[in-house]
C-alpha cells in the first residue's frame, strides 16, 4: 500500500515526459535576444577581426555560433529535480527541446537581420553596419543568408540538446577540449610568445599559421588529443587530491611547501620566457593583485563594502610621486623610493583612518555609497586647481624616478616584475597570516553579524579601523608601484572604474580566498590586456559577469570554504534535513 502511494507521488513529482515546449521557447527567445544583443552592441563585428582557425572561421563567428549551441544545451537540460528524486533519463526530448530553442534563436536573429536591412538605423545604433549584416547573412543575399542562419541555428541547437545524451562522462572532456582549442586560438599572442620563449619555435609553426590563426589540422589534433586525455584522466585530479588529503599533516605541509617553492621558481624565470610585452601585462595584473589582496581584507574578511578603494591607491601613488619626483612645484624633497615608502605607508594609514572613522556606524550599503563618495572626492581634489601646487592638477606629476637597490635600477618591465613580485609575496603573506589571527577572526565574526560579534567581545571599532588601515596600506603599495612603473601620474587614472575592477576581481575570484584573488586578477586584468578586441567590451563583460556570479555562484570561482558555507547555509541545512530523513527511513523497518 505504502509503496503504491510512493510511486504515485513520484509520478506526480517527476517532470512531464514530453517536451516542455514553453520552456524551450523561453530559452530560445533568450538565446535570440542574446544573439541580437551581441550583434547590436558590436561584439560580433569587433571579434570578427580576430582570426581563430585558418579558413573562414573567426572569433566573431564562433561567438554567433556559440549562442544557439549554449542555449540548446540549456534547453536540453531538464529542469532541476529535488534531491532524492531520480533525474529523468535523457532521450529524444532533450534533443528536440534544444532544436526548438535553436530554431527560435534563429528566427529572432533572422527577424533582426531583416529589420535592420529594411530600415536604416545607423544614425542611432552606431554599430549596426553593412559589415555586420554581411557577417550575419554569411556573405549571401538577405533571404539566403537568413535561411542559412536558421538551418545553422537549428542544427547547433539540436547538437546542444543532444549533448545531454552523452552523459557527464563524455560531455565534460568534450566541452573542455572545445574550450581549450578556442582559447588557444584566441590567445595566439600569448601562446606563441611562450613557445618562442621556451625555444619551441617549431611547435609554434605547427600550431599557428604565419597570420596568427590556428592551423586546422593541428586544431583538430589538439582537440582530439585533449578529449582523449580528458577521458583518460577523468578521475585523476580527485584521486590526487584524495591522496594528499589522506597524508599526515606534516607531509601535507611538506607537499604544500614544495609546491610553493616550485611556483616561486617558475615565477622567477617567468619574465625571461614571457618577453617584455607579456611581462608588462603581468605587471599590471600584479598591481591589481596587490589592491585586490587589500580589498579582500576590507570586503572579503571584514565585510565592509568599500567602493572608493581607488582613493587609497591614489594616495599611495601621489605620496610616492610627490616625495620622490622633482616635478612637484610646492613640495619635492626628492627622496629615494625606499625612504619614501614608510612615509607613503603613513599617508595610507592616515587616509584609512580618515575614511574609516566617519563610516564606523553606518550600515553596509550606506557605507558603500559613502566610500564611493570618498573615492570621487579624492580624485576631484587631486584634479583641482586648488591643490595644483602640490599635486599638479590635471597635468599630474611627471618624472617619478625608478626604484633602485644600490646600483641596480628596476627599469623595464622584466626587472620591474621582480619588484612587483616581492610586494605581492609580502602582501599575500600578510593576508595569509592575518586570516586566522585574532583580528582575522574578529573580522569574520563581524562580517557575519556585527551585533553578535560585539556581544561576544569583539571590539568592532578597532576591527573596522584595522581593516581600513591594512586595506589602505596594501592599496598604497599598488599606487606606489604604478607611480614608479609609469613614471608619471594623472588624476583621471584614479577613477571609480579602478575600484570596481578590484571589487570584481575579488568577487569573481572568491571572497576571502587568496588563490581566488590571484586567479581573478589574472583572468580579469591580464586576459583583457591580451585580447585587444575585448578591450572595448571589457566593462560590459565585467558587469554581466558580476550579475551572473551573484546569481549563480556568489562565493566566487575559488571560494574560501568558510565563505561558501555561509552563502549556501540554507542548502546545507536542506541537505542535512534530507540526509536525516533518509537515515530515519532506513532506520525504521519498511513494514511500518
Amino acid at each position: 500500500m505504502a509503496e503504491a502511494v510512493q510511486t504515485d507521488l513520484r509520478e506526480e513529482l517527476l517532470p512531464a515526459r514530453e517536451v516542455d515546449l514553453r520552456r524551450s521557447l523561453r530559452v530560445g527567445l533568450l538565446g535570440g535576444l542574446t544573439a541580437v544583443f551581441v550583434s547590436a552592441v558590436g561584439m560580433v563585428q569587433s571579434f570578427d577581426e580576430a582570426g581563430l582557425v585558418v579558413g573562414p572561421l573567426s572569433f566573431g563567428d564562433i561567438l554567433l555560433l556559440a549562442v544557439p549551441f549554449v542555449f540548446g544545451v540549456l534547453a536540453g537540460q531538464p529542469p532541476p529535480v529535488l534531491k532524492g528524486f531520480a533525474e529523468p533519463t535523457p532521450g529524444a526530448r532533450n534533443v528536440i527541446a534544444g532544436g526548438v530553442a535553436g530554431l527560435l534563436t534563429g528566427v529572432v536573429l533572422g527577424v533582426f537581420v531583416a529589420l535592420v536591412d529594411t530600415f536604416d538605423v545607423r544614425d542611432i545604433f552606431t554599430r549596426i553596419s553593412p559589415e555586420l549584416l554581411d557577417i550575419l547573412t554569411y556573405g549571401q543575399t538577405l533571404a539566403v543568408g537568413i535561411l542559412i542562419g536558421l538551418v545553422v541555428n537549428v542544427i547547433l541547437g539540436l547538437a546542444g540538446g543532444a549533448s545531454k545524451l552523452l552523459g557527464q562522462r563524455w560531455r565534460r572532456p568534450l566541452f573542455r577540449a572545445l574550450l581549450v582549442v578556442v582559447m588557444l586560438g584566441v590567445l595566439e599572442a600569448l601562446v606563441s610568445q611562450i613557445l618562442r620563449g621556451a625555444r619551441l619555435g617549431r611547435v609554434q609553426d605547427a600550431l599557428y599559421a604565419p597570420t596568427g590563426e590556428l592551423q586546422l589540422p593541428s586544431a583538430i589534433a589538439i582537440g582530439l588529443g585533449l578529449f582523449g586525455l580528458g577521458l583518460w584522466l577523468r578521475d585523476q585530479p580527485r584521486a590526487v587530491r584524495e591522496r594528499i588529503g589522506a597524508m599526515e599533516r606534516e607531509r601535507r605541509r611538506l607537499v604544500a611547501a614544495g609546491a610553493l617553492v616550485a611556483l616561486v621558481a617558475v615565477l622567477g624565470i617567468l619574465p625571461r620566457v614571457l618577453g617584455p610585452f607579456l611581462t608588462e601585462v603581468l605587471n599590471i595584473a600584479g598591481i591589481f593583485l596587490l589592491m585586490a589582496l587589500g580589498l579582500n581584507i576590507v570586503v572579503g574578511l571584514a565585510g565592509l563594502l568599500d567602493l572608493g578603494y581607488v582613493a587609497f591607491y591614489a594616495v599611495g601613488a601621489y605620496a610616492t610621486a610627490v616625495l620622490t619626483s622633482p616635478a612637484s612645484q610646492a613640495f619635492s624633497p626628492e627622496l629615494s623610493f625606499w625612504v619614501a615608502l614608510p612615509l607613503v605607508i603613513l599617508a595610507a594609514v592616515a587616509a584609512g583612518l580618515l575614511v574609516g572613522t566617519p563610516v564606523l556606524r553606518m550600515r553596509g550599503d550606506y557605507l558603500a555609497i559613502v566610500t564611493l563618495g570618498f573615492g570621487e572626492i579624492a580624485r576631484i581634489l587631486f584634479l583641482s586647481d586648488a591643490l595644483k601646487p602640490v599635486f599638479g592638477g590635471a597635468q599630474g606629476i611627471l618624472r617619478v624616478p625608478d626604484i633602485a637597490i644600490g646600483p641596480i635600477e628596476f627599469r623595464g618591465p622584466e626587472l620591474f616584475f621582480y619588484a612587483i613580485l616581492a610586494f605581492a609575496l609580502v602582501a599575500s603573506y600578510i593576508v595569509y597570516a592575518l586570516q586566522d589571527s585574532r583580528i582575522g577572526r574578529a573580522w569574520m565574526a563581524m562580517r557575519e553579524d556585527e551585533r553578535v560579534a560585539e556581544a561576544m567581545g569583539v571590539n568592532t571599532v578597532a576591527a573596522k579601523l584595522w581593516a581600513f588601515v591594512i586595506g589602505a596600506m596594501l592599496a598604497s603599495f599598488g599606487g606606489a608601484l604604478i607611480a614608479v612603473k609609469v613614471g608619471s601620474i594623472f588624476p583621471n587614472s584614479f577613477n571609480v572604474i579602478v575600484s570596481f575592477t578590484v571589487l570584481i576581481i575579488i568577487i569573481v575570484g572568491g571572497m576571502a580566498s587568496i588563490p581566488g584573488v590571484i586567479v581573478g586578477a589574472l583572468i580579469l586584468v591580464a586576459l583583457p590586456e591580451l585580447l585587444r578586441e575585448f578591450q572595448e567590451f571589457r566593462y560590459l563583460l565585467y558587469g554581466a559577469l558580476l550579475i551572473v556570479m551573484m546569481l549563480r555562484r556568489p562565493e566566487g570561482l575559488i571560494p574560501s570554504r568558510r565563505r561558501a558555507r555561509e552563502l549556501h547555509e540554507e542548502e546545507v541545512v536542506q541537505d542535512a534535513w534530507l540526509r536525516a530523513q533518509a537515515a530515519d527511513a532506513s532506520a525504521t523497518p519498511s513494514g511500518e
Binding site: A40, F125, A368, F374, S384, A386, V461, F500, Y539, G543
Partner: protein, 359 residues
Amino acid sequence: MAETVGLKARRAGRLSGVDAFLWFVRVVVLVAVAWGSYKSISSGRLTAAQWRGLIVAGVSQGAVYGLVALGYTMVYGVLRFINFAHGEVFMAGSMIGFFVANGLSGTAMWASLPFVALLIALLAAMATSTSISLVLERVAYRPLRGLPRLVPFITAVGASFFLQYTFAGLFGADSKAYPPVEALKGGFTIVGFRFGKVQALVIVATIVMMIGLYLFVERTKAGRAIRAVSEDQEMASLMGINVDRSIALVFAVGGAMAGAGGLLYGLTFGQVDFLSGFLVGIKAFTASVLGGIGNLAGAMVGGLVLGLIESLGPSLVLFGLGVPSAHQLQDVVAFLALVMILIFRPTGILGERLAEERA
C-alpha cells in the same frame, strides 16, 4: 539595571576617541560653513540678483535629483536595498529622450507644437526607463531576495556597469547634444527671482509628477498595496496582496520618475552620455538619504536641499574660505554633504519611514 549602566559606560568609554573625532568634525564643519558664508557675503563678490540666480538654478537642479531620488527611496522603503543601477535607468531615459527629441526636431511639429513634441519625448523616456527598471528587477534582483543585503547590492553595481557600457556599445560613447527648443529660450522674473523657461518647466513638471505620485501612493488600491508591502511583506501577502507585483510596480514607478528626470536633465544641460547616470545617481541617492530614506516627501525635500547646497556651496562657503577655483569642487561639496548627513543625522531631514529594521 546597574549592570546595563556599567556596560553602557564601558561602551561609551571605548567609543570616546571616535566620538571625540566625530564631534571635532562636526564643529569644524559648522565653523567653516559659518565663517565661509560670512566672508563671502560680506565681500560682496556676487550681487543679490546673482545669489537669487544660484538659488533658482539649485532648485531646478534639485528637482531633477528629487525625481531620481524617488526611485531610490521607494525601492529602499520596500526592499531595504540600494538600487545602484537606478542612475543608469535615469541615463537610459535621458538617452532615448534625446533620440526621440532629435528625431522630432527635424519635423514641423518641433517648431509648431513644441510642447506636444516634448511630451512625446517625455513619454518615450519614461517608457524606456520603466521597462529597464522592470527587467532589472525581474532578472537581477528578484532571484536574490532574502539573501544578505550586499549580494543584491553588488548585483546592482554589476547591472549599472552593464547598462552603461551597453548604451555605449549600442549608441556610441560620444555625448549627445539635445536639439534646442525655441519655445524654451529666454526667461521671466517673479518677485525678483529670474527663472529661465527651462528651469520653470523642470520645476512645474516635477510638481505635477509629485502630485500624481502622491495621489497614486496614497489614494489608489495599488498604492495602498505598496505601502502594505513596505510595512510587512509577509503580512501583506497573507492579506492577499501580490507582493511580487507590488514590488515590480515600485520599480516601474521609480523608473518612470527617473525617465522623466532624465528628459528634464537633458533639457536643462543640453547633453547626455553613457556615464551621465553615475553622478546623478549618487547625488539622487544622497538626496534620498538627506530627506530620510523611505520617505517620498523626503526625497523631494532632500533633492531641493542638495541642489541648493551644490549650487550655493562653492560660492558661499568655499569662496569665503579662500579656496581658489571653488566651482571645480561642486561635486566634492555634494559628497561631503552626504558624509555629513550620515554623521549628523543619518535618519535625514524628515526622518526615515521604514518599518522596523528586520535585516
